[in-house]
Symmetry: C2
DNA sequence: TGAACCCTTACGATGCGTGAGCGTGG
DNA sequence: GCCACGCTCACGCATCGTAAGGGTTC
């Protein structure tokens, strides 16, 4: 005596809405039998199939594909799983980024209570920063990426500000000394300061250092926003001068 | 001289499609000025606003809400952020579950190459298992949850099968001994086996043990699928008998 | 005769993609 | 007159939620 259920009953049993069952019926995804008067009659086979549908939906597959899988080839499922997993993992990454951006924004907002506009700017900054990080990661080895990520963990806005200030100052000083001899004591002092700042970023790590060189070599290919941010440090002459000074101190 | 852009130009500049700009225009989300002939003319202010829109969209906010935020109260943003973050975190959890389910299914499939139907059953099992884990977690303290999670890390289908088999056997033996004296040697031996199996689950941990008691006490409230799975172990008499035997051995 | 279900039809919401058909001149 | 762009409809997609209007009877 295979019991049969009416829609509502069946819906509760399976944990879906009646509307959903109507929908699946129309899509020919789950077609129950009918009574003479047209009422839907669901049986245990229907329950099994519905469970499969729900499971596949949980994995993020669209109903169309679920229909194909269940109607034709269940074997195809094995092929679908890996790509679906990758898709979900990508989604997860984007979600993580968004969550991270909100976290940072919240953190930056608690102390100051600076109203409206600043918040948005902060959020935009954070997102751009994430984009940049992701872009620049291409240049680093796995090890270097890991080290940089760890470093960012305890990286505060204050530290960032300090670093930017130090570089800005150094750049100004170098620009003022462009006419000096790269071998001079003054130039060597500047080169020393430069080395120190670079080391502050690399942490003396060879992997990071190698990546950084690649990053810089390919600076023409950076995205617009990054180039814009880096614009103050793009003075070609400064880089040449420091290059020469570094060469001298090595010799 | 505030330069102005045509749609396509502006779209490329901002990294969105022309269609998107049309869309935002119609929603009154971003309305550029127009030339006499009706062409859209975007300026830098529009670029700023568009960046804000894109940023908020990245956070998962719907366009309607973005419009409200940008048109009326940017301050409201501070209120929105926390709830949005929570929403995203929930989404992430569901994603993680789906990813986990696929992983498990893939793992269980590689060796056997059992075709079609079995895969689906496996996936359903895995998902139900996850649901159960999530449900049961309510009963455990944070510490116990952590310990159980760690335990599950290296929990294989084989181990699971062994455990189920051991419990099934023990249950059968107890049922066969229901007429014995709970204080008898035979009963005490059964109680000892029982304690050992329980310990195999709790790992001798007090937190886990406490949670397990709560789980069992509330067994009437378990979801249907879990009750179904646990049905073979629901024989009231067995539990009473073991309870008495345990009491004897304590005394 | 009424409560409680069931049925079908159809618009709504989300964020654009993708033409179709037609005007502008950047 | 031709090419590159621009403009405005308007349908499509995915998955149901939510009535509206009207039969059936576990």
């Amino acid at each position: 005596v295979t019991k049969s259920y009416q829609v509502q009953e069946f819906a509760e049993l399976a944990g879906v809405t009646v509307r959903t069952l109507h929908h699946y019926d129309r899509l020919a995804l789950l077609r129950p039998r009918r009574t003479d008067s047209g009422y839907r009659k669901y049986g245990i086979h229907d329950l099994e199939r519905l469970e499969q549908i729900v499971a596949l939906k949980f994995l993020g597959l669209p109903l169309k594909q679920i229909k194909r899988l269940l109607d034709r080839d269940t074997r195809e499922l094995c092929d679908v799983l890996p790509s679906q997993r990758r898709a979900l993992e990508e989604k997860r990454q984007r979600l993580d980024q968004a969550i991270g951006a909100i976290r940072d924004a919240e953190r930056l907002l608690k102390p100051g209570k600076q109203a409206d506009a600043a918040v948005l700017k902060k959020i935009i900054e954070v997102i751009e920063m994430q984009d940049n990080v992701e872009f620049l990661n291409k240049y680093y080895s796995k090890e270097a990426q890991a080290k940089l990520a760890e470093r960012r963990e305890n990286w505060t806005p204050e530290l960032q500000e300090q670093a930017t200030a130090a570089w800005t100052e150094l750049f100004r000083d170098v620009e003022a000394a462009l006419s000096e001899d790269p071998a001079s004591e003054k130039a060597q002092a500047l080169a020393a300061r430069w080395r120190k700042l670079v080391e502050g970023f690399t942490g003396g790590d060879a992997d990071v250092s190698a990546g950084l060189k690649k990053v810089w070599a390919d600076r023409q290919q950076w995205p617009a926003t990054l180039q814009q941010q880096a614009a103050p440090f793009m003075n070609q002459k400064v880089w040449e001068f420091i290059g020469k000074a570094m060469a001298c101190s090595k010799a």
